[in-house]
Amino acid sequence: MKKYFSLKMRKRATGMISATLMAGLLLTGCGATQTTKPAETASSSGDTIKVGILHSLSGTMAISEVSVKDSEMMAIDEINAAGGVLGKKIQPVIEDGASSWPNFAEKAKKLLQQDKVATVFGCWTSASRKAVLPVFEENNGLLWYPVQYEGMEASPNIFYTGAAPNQQIVPAIDWLFKNKGKKFFLLGSDYVFPRTANKIIKAQVAALGGEVMAEEYTPLGHTDYSTIVNKIIASKPDVVFNTLNGDSNVAFFKQLKDAGITSEDLTTLSVSVAEEEVRGIGAANMKGQLVSWNYYQTTDTPENKEFVKNYKAKYGADRVTDDPIEAAYDAVYLWAAAVKKAGSTDVAKVKEAAKGIEFKAPEGLIKIEGENQHIWKPVRIGEVTEDGLIKEIWSTDKPVKPDPFLKSYDWAKGLSN
């Protein structure tokens, strides 16, 4: 979701990643004849299977990642209460990434080499994911990444349980075009997720025959939006497409409202604001504004009623669930299902078994796409309500196939390289 590389650097990084990937492939190729890997015997020895949990529990990203860790712990507890997997209990090893990307890589190495965990659930920012990616590929580990992100990636050692761009951003633009208008104002934080997302949006809006009035970026942690709001008033767009991240959202929505602009005057659609963030912004400041995700706390499925009830019972009635929290919960269940099917925690076997696995998640029926290790998910546009929750106003009738490289869209040609 978040990345701090420049586009050029990202290209270089991709080059480096593919180089390490090649090296990794060679290494696994050599080791393929070994039937039992030391990692497997250690991670599933005795009565427990060790899994890693790697999130920022301190530092600036703790705002988002603590709840995601809570949700993973809840899933583990539930699975253990139901008898565990392969007759063994899951034993979580929790590490703090501390919002520092080198630290994430360090801890990932520790989890894989020292604790010899069977799999890791972790990361939030794209920067942290990019930092641990080579570690997982070199050590043939397995990472479950729970957050929507900018796409253009499919590592053989990562399962992506959040949305790819075609499961969040692309359908949102289509919907806005049909229902709200053709003139877009793009506002985002200044790093790669918003910039990549806006590159996609610009290509799509151009193909649909719309107009991008302006593209504005503010540094992460930016606190004063009076000038941006003034620019929005001056350019009179139909929609503000918001890819701001973190605290800036609070400042933006508070100051937008102070300037006398409500959802009736101007539509905004955000892709990084979920229930947890709405709480910090204040429901009154965001009432009626739109968001795009795959899951809301109000999503009407029997599984979700159970999920929300259990989450609140475990962590407090004032807590809310949201998309990344749910995607992280699903990740644990999907991994457990794959292990059961494979009859082993061996990474290669689990990956093979995971293909096509289905799970009745709180968001609805989801399925692992074997081709790119992303998830088939339903897409939902929602509106923030007075009580700080999000009401679904539109959804796809079926889960959408993940397409991280946007190969199935003509207008997206040339974006993925």
């Binding site: 603590v66 942690g221 000038t227 941006i228 605290d247 400042a251 102070d258 910090g280």
Partner: protein, 301 residues
């Protein structure tokens, strides 16, 4: 036309916020030459105190809710000042004349305070509802609205600066503070208890940061990292304005605030920040001590 008027107003408003955040720092930095990296966390403390006062009023009578903010301002001053007083007595006073150590130590303190806030209030941001009488704005004409919150902050800043002016230049306490600022040894030999002056000046500086935090709940996020969002700009104001002078903070804040918003309007946010930085660096080449500075006769300068 309306756009430009609003832009001028935005410039003044951003300047006022910067002045408020920097006022406390200018005093402590000027007096003790301690680079207090934890200044931002006192802003955070002020914001959380406002949150607590709000919660208290939610449980009280509904009709009184609008009043909570009036009470939150002195409350955040008192709490932040008290924590500042304790911090000065335990940590800061060992760091006088050790600028590098003070940067590291106060940075550590800032991390500790942030994590403490996270443990007490939880990691996600909390919501402070602004009182009803600050909602909306002064409508000049169609599409041109000056938010009451920003007008209120400007008034609050003027009050704080006037208050500090009276304290520093019209009271006995202020005379002592200025004496210590100008020449510590001489002040000591004149019988001023510099230890005590240090302690309460630091407390006042921290308290002012607390008020800034209280005001900022109207405009931005309330979370453990709130202070870090402001600390860089705050230091810039102090360095540009010159340490130890109120007028310096006002001038520095006004320059950075209006330059930032104006350049942001004509270019974009990131570029505006870069240009402002460049302007400041160039200016400091010419006047390394900032816009205003205390002329001192001490030999160590």
């Amino acid at each position: 036309m309306g756009t430009y008027i609003l832009q001028i107003f935005n410039g003044i408003s951003v300047s006022s916020i910067l002045m408020l955040a920097a006022l406390g720092l200018a005093i402590t930095f000027g007096l003790m030459k301690v680079i207090n990296m934890a200044h931002g966390e006192f802003i955070m403390i002020g914001a959380y105190v406002t949150y607590l006062v709000q919660n208290l009023f939610i449980h009280l009578d509904k009709s009184l809710f609008g009043l909570y903010f009036v009470l939150a301002i002195p409350a955040s001053f008192v709490v932040a000042a008290f924590i500042g007083f304790v911090l000065e007595g335990t940590v800061i006073r060992h760091l006088y004349n050790r600028p590098l150590d003070s940067i590291l130590a106060t940075w550590g303190v800032s991390l500790v305070l942030q994590q403490l806030a996270r443990s007490i209030f939880g990691a996600p941001n909390v919501d402070v509802k602004s009182p009803g009488w600050l909602e909306g704005g002064l409508v000049l004409h169609q599409g041109l609205q000056l938010p009451y919150k920003r007008l209120f902050i400007i008034a609050l800043v003027i009050t704080c600066i006037l208050g500090m002016f009276v304290l520093l230049y019209k009271s006995k306490t202020g005379r002592r503070i200025r004496a210590v600022m100008q020449n510590r040894e001489m002040a000591e030999s004149m019988g001023i208890n510099t230890r005590r002056v240090d302690a309460y000046t630091f407390a006042i500086g921290s308290g002012l940061a607390g008020i800034a935090g209280c005001a900022l709940t109207l405009l931005g996020s309330i979370g453990s990292t709130l202070g870090t969002n402001y600390i860089v700009d705050t230091f810039m104001v102090v360095v540009l304005g010159g340490v130890g002078k109120l007028i310096g903070t006002v001038a520095g804040g006004l320059f950075i605030g209006t330059a930032n918003t104006t350049l942001e309007f004509y270019t974009n946010t990131s570029l505006a920040k870069v240009l402002v930085f460049l302007l400041i660096i160039t200016f400091l080449q010419w006047r390394p001590k900032g816009l205003f500075n205390i002329s001192s006769r001490s030999l160590d300068e």
